[in-house]
Amino acid sequence: MAETRRVIEIELPSGDVAPVVCRRFGSGPFRVVIAAGIRGDAPEGIRVAHRVSSFLEAEEGRLNGTVDIYPCANPLAAHRGTRTWPFFDTDLNRLFPGRSDGHPPAQVARALCDDISGAQQVIELRGARPAFSEASQAIVRHDHAESAELASHANVAVVWRRTPGPAAPATFAHQFPGSIVLEGGTGNRLTPGVGNDLADGVLNLLVHLKVLPESGLPFHWAAIRRPVHVTDAEVHRVRAERGGLFLPASTIWSEVEAGECLGEIVDPLTGLTREEVRSPMAGNILAIRELPVVFPGTMVARVVTA
């Protein structure tokens, strides 16, 4: 039986306590960390963490190393289903590495960093960004070839070697340079199939890290997807030029030609077309907006060219 440990307890003013927990499987110095729920609007990641846990629970005797699973790093936000931590209204994924003498979100960030420090591999599980459907993808730092190679085995459509933006230094993943971020599905929802695919991907990563033996996996290795590898230059953001309702005409990971219609923007009061949004190039749909209200400049899709 896995050991369940409280990493930190958040004391609420009313007197209640909300714990952040870690479930430990196996033992030994080689340690893999799997963390989910940094934001409260990514239940897909939490589901994947639990699927992986239940598999490891049954296989614990065969583990060669330690797997620490943090199923929900931001319990109060998850409780409400919001991106930000309630009351303090802060995005935990902008507070790392945190501080032990700060407010509770900062304390949690610090406690997680201290707890995870020294792990050989960190895997962060997320859902899709709010308002979007996304193809399953692994995001690694652009200059980290080793984690990009490992991420090839994560059962995703795309490995995105991303250059850190201005907000990156305060994110969870950035604290651990070789970390792999897995995401996909739909913002703040569970999507049939996606959780299974990502859970299989995590188990396959554990095999490639030699923590888990290949025999006994709940899938055949040949079923694992072979992702395309892209950098920022191959990921194109498509924006609305008009405000209104964006009605998508494309589905996730479908192939599109240059100039193909990705959807239209209609006047919300009359339904008349204001704009046909067209793909700037040929490629695959990596993400598409599913919440229809848009302003001029709102991103409505991401297209990758391979």
Binding site: I10, E11, L12, P13, S14, G15, R83, F87, D89, D101, G102, H103, P104, Q107, A131, R239, R242, G243, G244, L245, P268, L269, V293, V294, F295, P296, G297, T298, M299
Partner: protein, 300 residues
């Protein structure tokens, strides 16, 4: 009144960025309020200043932006309601980016002035004595002191809000002053009037208007001269002082009690004398949270 920027909005009228301009020529001053849609003491102060400038045309140019985040203000929200983004984190902005990036870019262009002021309220759960936050030295310190607000808070580089509108103004080579007073979600007419007088003194110092009101500064401090009182544990905080109160060491600032049953957990007593500049307004507090700040005065 001029609409300096607008953007198409679904289901409602266009978003419009409004500017009121008084006078012409140099020097040029821009004053921004309501970047956060739930912090409207600054909006009230700027509108009071507008009334004064209608009566007395300035010798130079004054651009006023009473309310940037109109959509947020309509919903009592700090951020832009559509995607919950903070306009103040979108600077320098992008004319081809998202709505908040476009608004940020347009505001930065439209505040082309020698001296720029951004007025905020405190967070909804704290009340702040009207204050200006300035660097440790230089022209911005001189201008901030000229405002004569109750508190002049001199801050080290890293604490001066390097990002945001203030940082973008500095990057563009403009003098930038960060003013904070009162609390979010509420209108405090007294603090608003204090801020309006400070803005008028700034214009007076720059020679744009005749200034009459005497300086109101009580404390002019750096971080080391500010006593910060935090909650030792979570609980229900009952303040015994208001912002602006003068206290001596040992003065009872408030106490913490159990939320249910009301048993007293602890007392908060001033470690130093001075003026109370921050008081927690929302009583449910977490451990380590800020409850009261006391700034040293000349006499302490």
């Amino acid at each position: 009144m001029t609409v300096v920027y607008s953007i198409e909005a679904p289901y409602r009228g266009r978003y419009e960025l409004h500017r009121l301009t008084f006078g012409s020529g140099s020097p040029r001053v821009a004053i921004v309020a309501g970047l956060h849609g739930n912090e409207l003491n600054g909006m009230h102060a700027v509108n009071m200043l507008a009334a004064a400038l209608r009566a007395q045309r300035p010798r130079g140019t004054v651009h006023l932006f009473p309310l940037v985040n109109t959509f947020g203000a309509d919903e009592a929200r700090k951020r832009w309601p559509f995607d919950d983004r903070d306009i103040n984190k979108a600077f320098p902005g992008d004319p081809d980016g998202t709505a908040v990036q476009r608004i940020a870019s347009a505001l930065l262009d439209a505040t082309d002035a020698d001296v720029c002021v951004d007025v905020h309220s405190g967070a909804p759960h704290v009340r702040e004595l009207p204050q200006v936050r300035v660097p440790l030295s230089g022209r911005e310190l001189e201008l901030g002191r000229a405002m004569g607000l109750p508190l002049v808070w001199r801050r080290e580089g890293a604490r001066l809000q390097a990002s945001g509108l203030i940082g973008a103004w500095r990057d563009a080579g403009r003098q930038a002053l960060h003013v904070v007073g009162g609390r979010g979600i509420t209108l405090d007419t007294g603090h608003s009037a204090t801020i309006a007088r400070g803005l008028k003194r700034l214009l007076g110092h720059l020679g744009l208007v005749r200034h009459v009101d005497p300086n109101e500064t009580v404390a002019d401090v750096t971080r080391v001269e500010v006593g910060v009182h935090r909650a030792a544990t979570g609980g229900f905080f009952v303040p015994e002082v208001r912002v602006g109160a003068l206290v001596k060491p040992g003065h009872l600032l408030g106490y913490l009690q159990m939320p249910i049953g009301g048993d007293r957990i602890g007392e908060l007593r001033a470690r130093r004398g001075g003026v109370v500049v921050t008081v927690r307004a929302w009583p449910m507090v977490y451990a380590q949270e800020l409850l009261v700040r006391v700034a040293g005065t000349d006499s302490t």
